[in-house]
Subunit: 272 residues, 2 copies
């Protein structure tokens, strides 16, 4: 673990990341000494820092720190956090405060191998995501909604791999830790994240790949009925890449042609 | 500063308070060696812990820690944070994790003395609070909305003491760091916090005192027009107690009879 580039696993109790969730993060996979799509993750965290007015550490510095961690951790899940830094008094950010950045490393989660090929069960969360356009899309540290939603799903037991989140207007938004896609008549459809949700790196990659193979890509509001009647549904994130959905409520899917083609296509792309 | 009852000012970068804002807090004033209304603050933090499924440290333990800090800090603002504790992997809470609790101390902010007696200028924030009934009322660590709102107000300059927050349906909810009250025809009116906002200890005290002196108390939805045309408007929190509002947009108020009577009444109550 690194704190501001130095070995360490502690931060100040006055860090605004703790006090207010005033920061952003990214989770990326490292495989055989290679961080997957690190430049895309950097673009995203830089975008999110800008959205909150936090000065993002520069690419060269973070890349060097990341490189230094790879020797000891050639495989795993790396987490990068950037907070606005230590608090003075009150909610308002103060411009002269230096942001704090951290790296943490965890082992790759041991998901059943079948999930990537035969699909997963998705369950609807009771919690509805609040709509906050000022924070929508940003992977910030205010994640209590995800905590409550994940707790719901954990309470259902093992067969359910992910929880589906709707917003207060019953729009499909995302999974608790993933983005969601529908395939309908050969088109790729994914929810608009203008009011809530987290825009993942893998979401961009899925859309780009679908475009590359000639699929129509639609980013727009999606209702639950459209998901229930889609030809395929799948989930994505940077750790598990892509999981087809084999079951949601009474609906079952056994044909994952598009999902598996996109998954294979993403795996075959040059790392960058 | 105390971390889990021991002198310290650092926490783990794996604390869920940092990673997800998965925790709650309270801010209380200490005056001449006396923590003001500590039992009420404890009730609130215990309630908020319960709402999130966090095991709240018990009253005796926290009281003892607080007592130990008073000798060195007889005057100031004390902050108590309780987080769900250190993370295992993923958003879902794990039941065997021990919560972490922290105390921090800051000097009392130096507000102009006139604000309590001659009132403050209130300005409308552009940000609208998102509606999340599952988190409404709770003083949790997901405070990015407050950060963005406070940044707006800080950008306006000094004469503005507080920012007023509406929700997405244009209901008046609260200040960026305070609760808001209206006086209309001798009644006390304060916004319902069932969908967003933080329910402060001082808010409860104001309502209880108003009831005690025979005022009708209404907790309900409030629109901006009602605030603009109220006989009095005032703000409350546990640090500054109560500030009358002397100006909001084009409206000016010079009569603070109820506000000052309630402020004096609260100051005269037994500490407890």
């Amino acid at each position: 673990m690194l704190v501001n580039g130095k070995a360490g696993n502690l931060i100040s109790i006055r860090d605004r990341g703790l006090l207010y969730g005033d920061g952003v993060f990214r989770t990326l996979r490292v495989e055989q000494g290679q961080p997957l799509h690190w430049p895309l993750h950097y673009q995203k965290i830089q975008h999110d820092c800008n959205a909150l007015g936090i000065a993002c550490p520069d690419y060269a510095r973070l890349s060097e720190e990341l490189g230094g961690l790879l020797a000891d951790h050639p495989d795993g899940v790396f987490k990068l956090i950037v907070t606005r830094g230590q608090a003075t008094r009150g909610y308002a950010p103060v411009h002269h405060v230096t942001p704090v950045h951290l790296w943490d490393v965890a082992p790759m989660p041991e998901y059943p191998a079948s999930w990537a090929l035969q699909g997963v069960t998705l369950a609807l969360c009771e919690l509805r995501l609040a709509q906050q356009p000022r924070l929508a899309g940003i992977k910030h540290l205010n994640r209590l909604e995800n905590v409550l939603a994940a707790a719901e799903i954990a309470g259902l037991g093992d067969p359910v791999a992910e929880g589906l989140l709707l917003d207060a207007d019953e729009n499909v938004i995302e999974g608790t830790r993933s983005n969601v896609f529908l395939i309908s008549k050969g088109r790729l459809i994914t929810p608009d994240l203008a009011r809530c949700g987290v825009a993942g790196v893998q979401r961009d990659r899925v859309m780009a790949y679908a475009g590359k193979i000639g699929m129509a890509v639609e980013v727009r509001d999606v209702k639950l009925d459209e998901l229930r009647t889609a030809d395929e549904v799948f989930l994505s994130n940077s750790v598990f890449s892509l999981w087809p959905v084999s079951r949601f409520e009474q609906r079952q899917w056994t044909d994952f042609d598009y999902a598996l083609r996109i998954r294979a296509g993403l795996a075959g792309e040059t790392n960058g």
